[in-house]
Amino acid sequence: MSQADVTGLGLTMFRISSWLKSPKPYLMVTGFMLLLATWYFTVEVWKLPRFQDMPGITEVFSEWFSKDPYYGLSIYTPEYYKHILISLRRIAYAFCLATVLGVPLGLFLGWSKTIRDFIFPLFEVFRPIPVLAWVPLAIIMFSGSETPVIFLTFLASFFATTLNTMLGVESIDESYSRAAYCLGASRWQTFKHVVVPGAMPYIFTGLQISIGVAWFSLVAGEMVSGQYGLGYLINTAYMMIEYPKIIIGMITLGVIGYSTSALVRLAGDYMMQWRVRELALGDN
């Protein structure tokens, strides 16, 4: 097979088919089954102490897929999708903003020593402050219920993206920029053709982390401020003693969080064909 002819899609198909032939998918299914079985037996069959108040698997799933849910939330109620969409919208705003600001900032931090000496110390002080510590300030600084949540979500993402992008620039082998200068490239051309693509693998690692911490901070934000959203759903369900809704919210978060992560990875593969092909070659 000539590697040059393999397109992104073909490669994805090839990966999926070889994945299906490996033991991986079957181990994965077994893992899930084990978890669900543990849940079922501990809560519903053995009724272990401290587990008796937990919602059981049958209760949760029958509620989730019920046309007439007891607690008013299932895949048939519009409210369920409203929670999802609102959370997704906040993630989209925060993640995009963090990417649009974080990637260029990270590139310049890595590229220019002056900019780094100027901004990086500030960065190092702000970065370890947990998102939750920002909650009061976010509520004071921003009006309404929406912007504080988006701000909190943005914050963690922004640090992850910027930092990884900066590391990406620093990771680039010096010979690449030297080669570019040798070949007559200007400083700006070198930035565009060497620094940006060279940092790309780290940038996408950063974006993977960024989307993960975005969900983390989103739920934290939604629990203290804002209306609707999966974090809000979980929190209010807890207050109202509607325990199955908590589990529905949690599983939904898991599935959607994973999907957004996979989307970011897919975008990375699409933008870094060279890397996908190199790695694919390494696997064979």
Binding site: A4, R178, G184, V194
Partner: protein
């Protein structure tokens, strides 16, 4: 361009390097380390000049000064009687008249082979895109690289990668090619193929070659002249003329004259290697 059977390429008027009394002292943490010690070398245009010496002796320092990656402490370097660097202007401007072929290869892994090759002229912006790619394609064909245009460097063998890198340099009509032990990582079979390919490319293109190596066989097979360097600080210790006529092929390796030159050079090289070893220089 015609093949030449004699010592040097006659009538070649560009690409003469004159290194005059160059000193380079590193001062990383107060303890001055002399890497190059009053070194003078005269390389006529069109010569393949092999700089031979133990690893870590400061050969690369000399190459970096010519390329413009760092400056000299004192002394002058001229290219065709034009000053590259001197104490007043310690660092030469890197440019496409002197192109480095790096030790570990510096093809941009995020660009396809043909995009790598087209890089220099594209940056210079003097020719149209179509023209550049036509030239790239024909140069690749000449170097036996047809069919790998749209592969990424990571997808082709290391031998092919080296060839792509040389073609990338030649696209810019450089006066000088600077090789920094480019074949050290290759196995000996690939190496011998690469040597013949390099000579083939040299016969077709009028360039001066400044080639750093610690492999004596490689040095004698390729070079018009060996400049054997002392271990750190480095300066020429002995100059050996290789009076085996070009074009050469691998039969040269078993010729009596080759053995004679080998014997002549080997004693000097070993002496320096031993000194370097005793001085605790690592063989890296």
């Amino acid at each position: 361009m015609n093949m030449i059977g004699e010592e040097m390429q006659p009538g070649l008027s560009k690409g003469a390097i004159r290194i005059e009394d160059v000193v380079k002292i590193y001062d990383p943490d107060g303890a001055a380390v002399m890497a190059v010690d009053h070194c003078s070398i005269d390389i006529p245009a069109g010569e393949i000049c092999m700089i031979v010496g133990p690893s870590g002796c400061g050969k690369t320092t000399l190459l970096n000064a010519i390329a413009g990656f760092h400056g000299v402490t004192s002394g002058h370097i001229y290219l065709d009687n034009e000053l590259l660097c001197s104490p007043e202007k310690p660092q030469a401007e890197p440019g496409s008249d002197r192109i480095v072929v790096f030790q570990n290869g510096a093809l941009f892994p995020w660009k396809t082979n043909i995009d790598n090759i087209a890089f220099g002229p594209l940056m210079a912006g003097k020719l149209g895109k179509k023209e550049i790619y036509e030239k790239a394609r024909s140069m690749m064909a000449d170097a036996g690289l047809s069919g790998t245009e749209n592969s990424y460097p990571g997808e082709v063998s290391s031998g092919l990668r080296r060839r792509v890198e040389i073609v990338r340099a030649l696209m810019n009509d450089p006066k000088v090619l600077l090789f920094d032990e480019p074949y050290r990582a290759l196995d000996s079979l690939t190496k011998s193929v690469m040597h013949e390919a390099l000579l083939d490319i040299y016969y077709k293109n009028k360039v001066t070659i400044f080639f750093i190596t610690h492999d004596l066989e490689e040095a004698i097979f390729l070079g018009h002249r060996l400049i054997i360097m002392t271990s750190r600080p480095c300066k020429p210790k002995k100059i050996v003329d290789v009076d085996i006529p070009h074009p050469r092929d691998y039969s040269v390796l078993t010729s009596p004259r080759f053995r004679e030159i080998m014997n002549e050079a080997k004693g000097v090289v070993n002496e320096e290697a031993k000194k370097a070893f005793d001085a605790g220089e690592r063989e890296g």
